[in-house]
């Protein structure tokens, strides 16, 4: 039984054009428990990983999806006759801020970037990487921004929690050097 479950799930994953989650599969195969489906997904993933094929089963956006390995990108691009999808540096920086700080207002993004981000936000909304989460109860009822499921899919993320931890990096920065600021302030007599 467990073998056939594995093959059924494999078939679903193969035929799906988006990441499939355990819950979704459970909806289709209600006889099998969620935990056994979860286990089987992990098994399948390990099998594909060890096979050394040009594609593998990746955990993306709370689901699983077959994806080619990066080293074969040039060939696939040749077949698709497209150039690789690109985001500008400004768009990436804006996305980075929103990914970590969401839900976030435009005003706060602009404070962090020091420039107007209206155009970039529009582009990212059109690309479906951002979504409007609502309005803040402030004067002018400003929009609240957040990232979408497609953001996770494009950036190869299991979930928002799998983003590199923000806090650790920040602590490193300000703790080590934080003292220096005050020290220098006291000792910078040449400047003043």
């Amino acid at each position: 039984m467990s073998k056939s479950l594995k093959l059924i799930i494999e078939a679903l994953l193969f035929a799906s054009d988006r990441p499939l989650g355990a819950r979704e599969i459970h909806g289709l195969l209600s006889d099998d428990s969620l935990s056994s489906i979860n286990e089987t997904l992990k098994e399948l993933q390990a099998e594909y990983d060890s096979m050394g094929r040009s594609f593998t089963l990746k955990e993306i956006a709370q689901g699983y999806q077959f994806r080619t390995q990066a080293e074969y990108a040039p060939y696939v691009l040749r077949m698709l006759k497209t150039s690789p999808a690109r985001l500008s540096r400004a768009a990436l920086e804006t996305l980075a801020i929103i990914a970590y700080k969401q839900p976030i207002l435009r005003q706060e993004i602009e404070r962090l970037r020091g420039v107007d981000v209206g155009g970039i936000l529009r582009t990212l909304l059109e690309k479906n990487l951002l979504r409007i989460m609502g309005r803040r109860d402030l004067p002018g009822r400003p929009l609240i921004y957040g990232t979408t499921k497609k953001f996770l899919e494009v950036f190869d993320l299991k979930s928002l929690e799998s983003l590199p931890r923000l806090k650790e990096i920040k602590d490193l920065g300000s703790d080590e050097k934080g003292n220096e600021i005050t020290e220098e302030a006291g000792g910078s007599s040449e400047q003043s």
Binding site: S16, Q65, A73, A96, A99, D156, I169
Partner: protein, 244 residues
């Protein structure tokens, strides 16, 4: 002596400041504020001389820099010694900015979909066979607006928007849509407009649709970006939400 100046395009004041700090090879925690301010202002002059529009953001930062510079020239008001370094005002935003730049490049280094890695694509032909299956993709406002534009272009080619006294109210159309969905169940976006004849009527129908989506009475789905958008009622059968 002539200088050839290569102007880099900076994204904003923080970008320019960071560049100056790197160029001068100074510590971000000990910015020589006089030097950096002078160079910053020089750069703005250069931009002006070249007729590049200097955005207000750049001027704001210039005034902040000058303000910090003047603060540092003045002797501290107290002898308590715990006086905050005025440079903190730019050091902290710069640190945060650098930090997010770093994260952005980390994001960009990941195995990006359709750049580094690819998924299987199910053909539109196959997708038709799955009609009536679970919705696959939530439709955003932009997709909805695109689809609306396509319908209008197709049915009323070359039409321009004109404002007229309204013949249809959004409320009436809303009720009409609700009644239809109740009677016939899910419909395609295209079918929603089948009885509409002139542009103002299309628009009122569209506004009514947006209103219903906004109130959560309709769910909108599109399996792929090419296929028809489906409208699915999500009010309960007893009509509790029907009287909108």
């Amino acid at each position: 002596m002539e200088y050839e100046v290569k102007l880099e395009i900076f994204e904003g004041p923080l970008d320019l400041l960071l560049h100056l700090i790197h160029k001068n090879e100074v510590d971000i925690f000990d910015i020589p504020i006089a030097t950096v301010t002078d160079q910053y202002l020089e750069y703005l002059d250069m931009m002006r001389a070249l007729n590049i529009n200097v955005a207000g953001d750049f001027l704001m930062m210039a005034s902040t820099l000058v303000h910090i510079k003047s603060k540092m020239l003045l002797p501290g008001p107290t002898e308590e010694g715990e006086e905050e370094d005025p440079r903190v005002e730019i050091t902290l935003p710069l640190l945060e900015y650098m930090h997010f730049k770093e994260i952005a490049s980390e994001l960009s280094d990941r195995e990006l979909l359709d750049r580094d890695v690819f998924t299987r694509h199910v053909s539109p032909y196959l997708q038709d066979q799955f009609k009536g299956e679970d919705p696959q993709l939530d439709v955003s406002l932009f997709q909805l607006m695109d689809a609306f534009k396509r319908i209008v272009d197709e049915r009323l080619p070359g039409v321009r928007l004109k404002f007229q006294p309204h013949k249809w109210s959004v409320k009436e159309k809303t009720e009409l849509i609700v009644t239809r969905l109740k009677e016939r169940g899910p419909i395609f976006l295209n079918d929603l407009f089948e009885e509409d004849r002139i542009i103002s009527e299309f628009i009122v129908t569209f506004l009514a649709l947006l209103e219903l989506v906004h109130m959560g009475l309709i769910k909108v789905f599109q399996p792929t970006s090419q296929s028809d958008i489906r409208l699915i009622p999500s009010f309960d059968e007893n009509g509790g939400n029907g009287d909108v």
